[in-house]
Symmetry: C2
Subunit: 289 residues, 2 copies
Amino acid sequence: MFQTRLKETAAQVQAHLDATMMPLGHLPVIEAMRYASAGGKRLRAFLVMESARLHGVDPQHAIWAAAAIEAIHAYSLVHDDLPCMDDDDLRRGLPTVHKKWDDCTAVLAGDALQTFGFECVSRAECHTDPLVRAELTVTLARAAGAQGMVLGQALDIAAETAETPLSLDEITRLQAGKTGALIAWSATAGPLMAQQDTAPLMQYAAALGLAFQIADDILDVEGDADKVGKAVGKDASAGKATFVSLLGLKGAKSRAEDLVQKACDALYVYGDDAETLREAARFVISRDS
Amino acid sequence: MFQTRLKETAAQVQAHLDATMMPLGHLPVIEAMRYASAGGKRLRAFLVMESARLHGVDPQHAIWAAAAIEAIHAYSLVHDDLPCMDDDDLRRGLPTVHKKWDDCTAVLAGDALQTFGFECVSRAECHTDPLVRAELTVTLARAAGAQGMVLGQALDIAAETAETPLSLDEITRLQAGKTGALIAWSATAGPLMAQQDTAPLMQYAAALGLAFQIADDILDVEGDADKVGKAVGKDASAGKATFVSLLGLKGAKSRAEDLVQKACDALYVYGDDAETLREAARFVISRDS
């Protein structure tokens, strides 16, 4: 059920990105935007579409928010992979943008993907109610910005030169920004669009986001680079504090399982309708990529 | 009159940026955001505030749009100056962000400034009417994105490896994106916020933006690096097609003057109220920095 729905969402959001990027032409920067925003699990888009469904939001509106979050996520990966950042050559098993083109194209394509994300989320087609559009935009900016994702990245950089490794509290705060903020925006986009209470999905997303990151740290230790589609073992060799280094492999796994349970529990108000979101939570800690 | 108003606007927008960035703390990336968004002529903010005044828009709303465009402009400069882009060491007479910090901080600070710009323009304080906020946001995204500023930059990169230098038409199209799109958004922000006709200010901005770029090309040839605050003579030594290389110095100056006249003429519907905007047009071709 979840896997089917995830695949459907992936196909929908891809078709939507393709159509929306169609008028942009074929300069290398534009092709790099397409390349970078293709593929991936589309977990964030899935969270948008499912939370929208739970709140009776028209999927034709929600798809714009789903495309927006995938564009913002893609921009962050393109810039993260740059030589001056994480310096990664592979992403989803393919050359990263700066390897396939060059650094300049990667900087610009990432920039343009961020702008494109904000264009999608504020377009009239995103929602007929302009209040909803404006609120979606400002919450997305907060999630992506210097109090959300970029804050997480800034803390991550600061940690690299810090004298002592991060504590569990510090790494939790870092990850709440770096990966948690966009996941939280995605999962609450539905009630936001329906102008309903975001609290249950916010609780769900907080637990899910953290479980997701713990699973990422576990994959960096146990994962198969071919399946993960990018280099593994980077954190340990860089001596970086991770959930695994702080909790141990067994401790990290058990913490992730607790969080998934917490995420599922937060959905009780939705009853059986939220089963796909519960499956999604179980999926994030069992995935191999 | 114009110089006084420009200085007032610069002080207002700086105070507004400072206050809005206050909660962001003091990590290096955040300090780099402050550093990169400080100073400059604030011409874009001025255009926002003046076009808002002409249309009776509350300055307390307009200042958010002014801060937004200055943040977007600052982000574009930080990324433009990167070693993989134009590789500039100086900006406004000071070390560029990647020189003062490092490339990684410059990429992130630029990213965060873009996000911050979209946060400003979509915040409730920007305008009480959510339709206006949503429209301001989507038009800003179009101006900054792959059909506006980023398109201009992509064409600029493509030109570097092209076999023949750009024609006058091509360079005009490139500049209409690279610098023209943000200037046009700034000058039309007033009527957009007032939900009135943007055509006269759009005409004004099209001529002004082009005159601005021609003046930039002239400064690159005739300017004093100390006054300009950045390296000059780069275009000629790179063999790049510019308005000066295509029209000659005299031809470029005469074209810029014609454009300023055209810009001033476009403002006739506003009568004497638009005198500061006419002075602004004359200023852009007489400036020495």
